[in-house]
Amino acid sequence: MAREISTGRKAVITTVAWAVALLIFFPILWTVLTSFKTEGEAVNSHPAFLFFDWTLENYHAVNERSDYLAHFWNSVVISLGSTLAGLIIAVPAAWAMAFVPGKHTKDLLMWMLSTKMLPAVGVLVPLYLLARDTGLLDTRTGLVIVLTMVNLPIIVWMLYTYFKEIPAEILEAARMDGATLSSEILYVLTPMAVPGIASTLLLNVILAWNESFWTLNLSAANAAPLTAFIASYSSPEGLFYAKLSAASTMAIAPILILGWFSQKQLVRGLTFGAVK
């Protein structure tokens, strides 16, 4: 039964909600706006909000620095690479736990989760030394390996919660109808699993794209993704606000758009099914 809500009350709530939302969003909005200003306009002591001479020169300037694209590409390779590697390892594992659960499945899941609770700084030194001694320091391969392992527990957990929702009876039914194992997997299970796998992929690309402990500590000039590249703007280039804004806008835009599509998965993936 829906309650009758007066239009006046709704208008007030709408106004308050929009005001709060815009306040929270403001730093991002301000960054995007500043990226279209000239450097002089960006540090104007009477900052203009919308009425300034819009320019694309900062984007040209940032793109002309070939290193920006190289770091952007590093981010793409590292986040996609580590997510795909994680999925290849995790899909069979989550599959087995969801459909052939054993006595210790629950313990195993909890143990996998516990590895995620290990603070990164507790293994910083050995991983740095291992990477250095194996020649993986400041390489994309090294970062892909580390981020795969960092996010593997989350990937397994998310996939497990999705696979768990596929009713086992469907498999039985397909078997009754004489489906072979391969056709069962191909025509029955895969279509039902694809949405869950896609959501897991989405959330993990976002997490890997923004990961800022290992990418900052294990990369220098060559493999640095955008997290490390932008951090290097802290001085003295950070004083060029408009270019910093343009670089920042390009670094966050793809993930912001992906993120808005993944709100629901975010809750599921980061609370390990504890909140639904």
């Binding site: 050995p126 606000y241 504890a274």
Partner: protein
């Protein structure tokens, strides 16, 4: 029913993930524990020697240790207070009927997707800079002296930045939990003449307890590892004013190359995180039974 064959197949499918995670956990952690008992500095190769608990006593007596521990606790509790309090308020607000609710939610959630180095730089330079920042311009407009955020209140400034990043997470989780609130019970209470405050305290808050606990525990795990925000804004300073445990270990091992000391600090951080982890694991485990 699972057959013997499918069970064997299941084990085969599980083993890569299990073996890799086992290696991932045991090898580096074992090395950290081992290093923590060694005199081991990368600048002085060849001088490694077993020293027992010397690194731990150095770590605990380091003049930066207590400030770092206190800063860590202040950072975590500060961010938690802001995000949980703000998250509840926002969840209640978003739950009301309004126009454009979807868009409002999109705007509120956005900060979570901004990479830490970008949010740190944007806040540091464009908002909080005492000369060219927007806050300084606003202060001047009001005739007030601008605040030099990272020199005068470094830790509080970092708390604001980190809270801004995590507020969307808390809001999203609490808002999701709000969806399962019993609306009929709410309406019944309203008909019985219960005011909005009574309903909030006696119905909404108890319903959100579980989600609040999850938010607190998960955020604590991540907040204990806050790194980029400090590196980009204050580098732990001035002095030790914004040095956390994570940052202290980073400085000792990556800047002073004292592997032994850094490892001892790393183990202390692991123990600290474990206290939180035990509670979190218990909650998640309970849910798994259901």
């Amino acid at each position: 029913m699972a057959t013997q064959a499918s069970r064997t197949a299941g084990r085969l499918m599980l083993s890569p993930a299990v073996i890799l995670l086992l290696l991932w956990m045991i090898v580096p952690l074992g090395m950290t524990i081992y290093f923590s008992f060694l005199r081991f500095n990368l600048l002085m190769p060849g001088t490694e020697a077993f020293t027992g608990f010397e690194n731990y006593s150095y770590f605990f007596t380091d003049p930066a240790f207590w400030p770092a521990l206190v800063n860590t606790l202040v950072l975590v509790t500060g961010v938690l207070a802001i995000t949980v309090g703000g998250g509840i308020a926002l969840a209640v607000l978003l739950d009301q009927p309004m126009w454009g609710q979807g868009l409002v939610r999109v705007l509120v959630i956005a900060p979570f997707f901004v990479m830490p180095s970008v949010s740190a730089l944007v806040w540091k330079n464009m908002l909080m800079n005492p000369v060219n920042g927007l806050f300084a311009a606003l202060a001047r407009g009001l005739g007030l002296p601008p605040i030099d955020f990272f020199a005068d209140i470094p830790l509080a400034s970092i708390i604001v930045i980190v809270a801004w990043q995590w507020l969307p997470f808390a809001t999203l989780i609490l808002f999701t939990a709000m969806q399962s609130l019993d609306r009929e019970q709410m309406e019944a209470a309203e008909m019985d003449g219960a005011g909005p405050l009574w309903r909030f305290v006696h119905l909404t808050l108890p319903h959100l307890t579980r989600a609040m606990t999850v938010v607190v525990l998960i955020q604590t795990i991540f907040l204990l590892s806050v790194f980029a925000e400090i590196l980009v804004t204050t580098n732990g300073g001035p002095g030790t004013a914004s040095t956390t445990l994570t940052f202290l270990v980073y400085m000792q091992s990556m800047l002073q190359f004292d592997v032994g000391l850094g490892s001892a600090g790393g183990i202390v951080a692991v123990l600290l995180a474990n206290i939180v982890a035990i509670f979190l694991m218990r909650m998640i485990g309970k849910n798994l039974e259901a």
